[in-house]
Amino acid sequence: MTINTLAKGGWHRDQMACFRKMEKVIVAMQDPDMGMKMRNQRLLITVIPHAMTGRDVINWLMQKYNMCEEEALHLGGMLVRYGYIYPLKEPRSLVLRADESPYRFQTPYFWTSTRWPATELDYAIYLAKKNIRKQGELMEYEKERYSVLHKRINHTWDFVVMQAREQLRASKQRRKADRIVLECQEQAYWLINRPPVSLTLSTFRIYFIAHFVCVCVCVCTFCLCLQIEFCRRALGRNRVKSSICLEGFVKYSEQYLSHDPIMQGCLPSNPWISDDTAHWTMNTEVVPIPSRLRVERWSFSFMELLNDAMGRREFMTYLEKEFSAENLCFWQACEDIRHGENSRIVEKVEEVYKNFLAPGAARWVNIDSKTMDKTLKGIQHPHRFVMDDAQMHIYFLMKKDSFPRYLKSDLYKNMLAKAIVPQEVKKSVFPFMRRQRHSSPSPAQAVAQASEEEGRA
């Protein structure tokens, strides 16, 4: 659904899709065998046939879609809001009540989707009819609109009045019960399509009009060419068997299950539930002793280790012991080039060359000769991605070699052993004792402080 105004065609696909679905539900409700049981309802002194109570609607929805009462109330409420079912007793209150209040199905003639859009002319005729039938029957907002319309489409006003009179005459010839039903249906239609401003549905109407989209699929040459090129490339693509991929998802979800606070809670407690920020304090970026879950997570993948600042630091310490710290430094420098400002690319590439790639460099990294040659050539015309191949080579070197060894090392094992497993803290027994909520420094503040300190030093 987009905000663009209609180009051509006037088809508001997103709303129509909803309407079709709601209509399916409504049709099922009126099914002679499996649908709802209807009865006659008294309205003042007249008996309205084929009506049902709000309670009936909810029970039917609960049974048919196997849902709880809250959801049935919600869905039923939507059917009323969009005019498929209308209330008989309080027509202006477009709410589904779970009691004996009578409701009726709107006739398809008056479905919003059938008579779209609701025209000014029709509305004028409707208001005129109401006005003629019983002087002063119009509500305040209807009176306002009536006079606005009278001004705006004054040139066709004779037609409006004539139509209104004609329709009133025709309706007098109907049986009273039918006449009342038709009046109710028409009233319900206009309550939906021209609601008083206070109803939230009016906003729906405004955006309903605005949300059109250009349905025409672009058939120009350019798009077709792109499509063909894409298909050709895609046909040659390597795919993996479903069974392998899908197993991957199952394994991933299992592995991370205990780390998922929404599914398994978190220790000591979820701050949003218990009002206690201990969990955040224990898991800040740099902390003397990290939590066990956090250290375990480093072992899930090399990316997890690198994404955690503490993990990265630990890994650097390990590499220093192994005399291969230049690999991680190189990788970090390449990341900085890739994601940094455009204006500093040239200078950064120079730095990297000097420190890591030049023969005899202080922290020379071991890249295969083919990649080295390609990179050195690329450096002559430095751009953002010039280090990509070299960076990838070093990344996979660390991933395949240093990372597994780190996980087996004493350094990691000690970290894991030392790591805290916080005690679970249940929500406070005295819920009315609200804890003080302290504000934390905003990240902008932290940066400002750091640069201030730097300035002073």
Binding site: K21, L235, F249, D260, I262, W272
Partner: protein, 349 residues
Amino acid sequence: MACQGLQKGETLASLKTESDGLKKKLEVERGKLNDVELHQVAEKTEVLGALSIKTRRVLKGHGAKVLCMDWCKDKRRLVSSSQVRTSTDLWTREHGVSLPCTWVMACAYAPSGCAVACGGLDNKCSVIPLSLDKDENLAAKKKSVAMHTNYVSGCTFTNSDMQMLTSSGDGTCALWDVESGQLLQSFHGHTADVLSLDLAPSETGNTFVSGGCDRKANVWDMRSGQNIQSFESHESDINCVKYYPSGDAFASASDDATCRFYDLRADREVAVYQKDSIVFGASTVDFSLSGRLLFAGYNDYTINAWDVLKGNRVSILFGHENRVSRVKLSPDGTAICSASWDNTLRIWA
């Protein structure tokens, strides 16, 4: 780009036939390695019990529909928009400053937490540095970075504050250098408005996915600008796309009232999350930290939580009084924030 207008012997019709033929061939290829369905593989996993997720915070204070929101990396602040409200500290409910602009459809927090980006009907995406001085005139510090020829529907920073990705109603996505405002790469392939994008959490960090009104979800290579993969199985506009935490799949939410799950390695759709009783379009999705739950916000004011593997709905969250426009997991996975047209934001945990 290989073609420059029609070649000799080609007509628009012949191109169309060729395109359709290739598409069919592609479907056949994709089907070849399809040896099992997701719900079959998921049979051995435990059934999820009922979740006890409730509203824990309600944030009022927006005077208009909240169209978008994004979390700050500090896990407790967020930026929200219709009018831009910067760095609202959810924990203490302290409001940051707000910018008087309307119809901001996309907003994002910079990874450093020192700036926010916002864009919308002004066809631009601007970056606003966050300062400590609450009275400072933020509007003056606003810097235009992205320029599109139609509204901006989505924006996100890439791994640093220096680059930004945007999606637009003009049918393209674009990568920008924040400092200079230079266009680094543009991505063509959608044939209608692009409504959403998401960056891949992969090791090489080079791809992103976009979804649009042409019902397609496209995966792009950020470096070359090429469309690597494309999925067209929704029956209506795709409102939102989001990567699975491992980066091997993504989910989409659409006006056809379904959410779908696409496997990138197998190159096909592997699950559809739908129910007969769900009638209204889904406008937003996000995964829980483990990727087992998919939270989707709908136009009928509810949020449904789906079991990604088994395909059934686990929970339905009521509370909002108008459309849910955005749902986002907090950076540490402790809570979900939802933004709605009822002018409020809610935190669920």
